[in-house]
Symmetry: D2
Subunit: 336 residues, 4 copies
């Protein structure tokens, strides 16, 4: 960590700060130039509060040299993480395809969609039992009953299931769930993240609406700090001024995360764009850019969907997308 | 609600949609022009899922005419809401000043700050007992002990207290708290909002990092739909590309909310900018633009603050700000 | 175009507006529901000023049904445009690779880079002679001499050249240039666009820092309205809150433009990210998402580059990228 | 300027960079810590290209300590600039009110508006003769004839005039104009800025749609570097995800600019919001936050306006706004 002092700071003032830092247990090197004084802080600075340093009148700026995350950091785990989830491998050379409806609505719907997506090559089944909705008057999900229906679809098809949690006190209901999803609006629900750090399920961590890549890594760190090392990132678009797409899919986040972290990263083109005809080109782009998988919304009857119908593919459309994705995965040497 | 059909839709196709809408209990008027067909939906459309309508192949676009919120809507409550909180009035002609440290650290700190801000004219005391921090390694607050210290400071000064909740299952600890704050990162933590709808405390609802004014109103609606009508909005800056300030304070949100809703709105210039020297001009601007109050961070020793020290005012600086704000409030006919 | 009137508008008031519209030569159909009145405007509304309609007290909202652009619109030109530029085809099944340094610096540099990128498979040579720089004290380009050096490099290699114009009064210097680039900061320099509408050179139109896809199409329309139909879009990242990359590359803009317009679209991963190690994955993603080409910065000595050295590839790095891109292009059936 | 080297850099490698910097004429101090090596660059670094330094493999990051602008910098000009424009003072204790229609349409319109705004207390008359429009099919202004009509309105009322330039080759037409406006879309039209550096007219420099405060200062620096020291900033809202207002007015930019620069800053609430009922509260907020003036759109018949009618005030509405603004200005000790 580097602390840059203001131009008119006296050497004496600087030394009071140096002493303070020493008392906090930090070594430092101090360099005094013609126009600036700089302090380099040595040691584990991941717990240093930059705001506190900036509160000193004499401090111009503070700059981290090392990242504030450790367990999620590739520097300390150079090899790609790979997770075995019910026999499906996620990460490092595998390309996971998570498909299913936005929300679980009925047994018939779930079985029909699950069988269809499995046939087309999906490796995981998704479906929302707890739905975060902007309006309190909108359908909020079937809750426990929704999870029961997901498990029936899993029994019928063998596909491991992915579903979203909104409240740590529902965790008991997730005992048989294979992957727990944290939605974009809960990416910085730190109480939830802490609790998930103590469960032994893989966590699919979606990026928040307007969160930076570093904040996203820090949210993974929250989960990992509790002991749960199995975090999968999911890029789902960020909020920008552009309104043609629902969000702006940030595909450059994939190589960024791959460089900074060892954890797998998947892409959700359905939520990112809200436009079903964009799913195929963006799923292919996700594969080409290095993602470890995609999550795609599929509904047997989008017009009757209780949630996000407009962005869902029909099983036939999904099948067409999968033909293209499968061919490209073979070319890229990725196993689906 | 207006549904615009695609150009090549046949009258017959349109009629299948009309029938579907009738079955859902909606009246409609249908208008067929040379180049476009339009359906106007009549009745309570606040529960209509626009996404579901958009999933129909023949639908080009859907447009709401009436707002999706009711209890927060000025149309149904033309008069400004005014809340009496321990004898302090919030809203309609009153200008509330909430001041205190980012986080509660010790009894000495809280009493010292509380007495100082009261003397300068603050009407509420703030302090964080539960702290949402980006890093799991940062100070997370004193929790129950923090609330106990806030209550001691209230006993010493008579100032009602405002403090943040991060998890609905901590509600028991908030029994004697006067105003419960929902932080920016939890603005769309719908599970928390629902629970707060059932408590009888005023809620200070901060705007999310990248949430629209309509989403913010919908989050208030979540609380109000549960029966708790006392919601106070708090604008604290939104995330933009500009990095000079920590966030970009959106003061146009104040007249917007005043027009759309009857609820009070306050402004937090400390978090919005992260720069203590910006607090005075922006607090004055908040008053001039029509806000019902401000929330300002004050710490007796910003350099030693365990959280956000860089943006805190000292009690002396706060006193200087209050002199300016008090004079302007008198000019604007607002009671502090 | 659909005009939605405010709820309390009387039929009589509505009729005054209808008459006004008739006088402007528009046919309309008027539909009066229980809670809303709607006017559908028939005829060519591309020249209607929505702002003017919104200025009427009785107007709640105005919504376009048809796009405000025509010549750039795929509806009126269903087939992909394809341009022959010095024997190189751009668009429809071709994948153009434009490579070269950010700025032209010397004859030696240009010849060396041009020969290297040609050998690796580039189809166009780029290089800046006029450089838009944030600082007036930064290197502004070699101007006429820069164009002369580009032409020498063209003579040596046969590669057609692409270079940026900043001022319509320099057009004489661009007589032998093959493609004229309009930079992001000039995307809405309408005076420049109008002038380029009268020249007979293909125009590479970069997206502005914070411009919508529709505004971008309208800027193409400016050029095309003047008679110059050869416009090539270039996505180069938009400005968002994320700072890890210089800009946020919006790859969803590619399928969007492909659906809305018949014009070719290329992608510039170098400027979008500012990070040379991101060029390979994003160039591949651009290809997979359906772009018609890429523009990549290559410098023989990035450390000595007078402009944007940090984001340039060395010729060796470019060669490695091209091997991957060429293989993927073959898989995708695109000709480089 | 501080250069932070990557962790695994050897002392020998560092020395090759130090030598390079010495050859470029820089003094430096080099500091070698346990985990990091830092180079402090001494001397005038305003012309150093950070990109070029970042292109070195061994460089982790580069950080400016001093600002890259000089003439616009308050450090070198501690006192507020004050400009006398036809007897009207702009800056330092004065509050300028620039009012008039978006575009000049007719003599009758201009005289009527000019007389009305003068009566209400405006100090400058605005009106667009050259109009930057998103669509090539929209009204583009009366050009030379528009300027002639502005000058007639000036003769009739004595109000100095402000009008926008879009092309440096129109400068001859601006000989009798009092303040030349550079619009948001031209804030980084560097060719135009350079030319305006050589004219002796005050320049009203609007902030670009998505430009940072530093970029804005650099654009002022472009003008000032040419010798024209009279630049007035105009904040007009930035582009964000929020769509309720046309743009998001960034009032925190006012105290920021006041701290960083000595130049005057005004605020345009009309363009920022696009909503006439927001002008009054935001004009008052602009005054309270420390701006040196406002620019407000006024049209004698907004419904017939050829441009941006929806955001214009009528003369009666403007008069009501001015009563509030004048009273607040008196309170704040600002002269209108």
């Amino acid at each position: 960590m580097i602390i840059i002092l203001k131009q008119n700071t006296t050497t004496q003032q600087a030394h009071t700060l140096l002493e303070e830092l020493e008392q906090q247990g930090f070594k430092h090197h101090f360099s005094e130039g013609e126009h600036s004084m700089i302090i380099g802080l040595i040691g584990d600075t991941s717990q240093v509060d930059m705001q506190q340093l900036l509160a000193h009148d004499m401090v111009e700026d503070v700059k981290r040299v090392s990242e504030p995350y450790k367990r999620a950091n590739r520097k300390f785990n150079p090899d790609d993480s790979i997770f075995d989830i019910c026999g499906r491998l996620v990460g490092e050379g595998n390309f996971s395809v998570i498909a299913g409806p936005c929300s679980v609505e009925s047994e018939e719907q779930m079985i029909e969609v699950a069988e269809a997506v499995k046939k087309s090559g999906a490796t995981f089944l998704r479906g929302g039992a707890f739905k975060p909705r902007t309006s309190p008057y909108a359908f909020q999900g079937l809750h426990g009953e929704g999870i029961r229906l997901l498990l029936e679809a899993k029994r019928a098809t063998g596909l491991p299931i992915v579903t979203e949690i909104m409240n740590q006190h529902h965790l008991d209901l997730f005992n048989d769930v294979d992957v727990i999803q944290v939605g974009a609006r809960n990416m910085q629900n730190f109480e939830l993240l802490k609790e998930l750090g103590h469960c032994n399920k893989p966590i699919l961590l979606k990026r928040g609406l307007a969160n930076t890549i570093e904040e996203w890594l820090m949210s993974a760190e929250y989960i990992m700090a509790g002991g749960n090392e199995r975090v999968i990132f999911c890029e789902r678009g960020i909020r920008t001024y552009e309104t043609f797409t629902r969000n702006t899919l940030d595909l450059s986040a994939i190589p960024a995360l791959k460089r900074l972290s060892h954890l797998p990263v998947i892409v959700d083109p359905s939520h990112a764009t809200g436009l079903p005809w964009m799913v195929e080109p963006l799923a292919k782009a996700a594969l080409a850019v290095g993602a470890d998988g995609v999550m795609i919304e599929v509904h047997n009857n989008p017009k009757k969907a209780l949630c996000d119908g407009a962005q869902s593919l029909t099983p036939e459309q999904f099948d067409a997308v999968m033909k293209k994705v499968t061919a490209l995965a073979a070319f890229e040497n990725k196993k689906i």
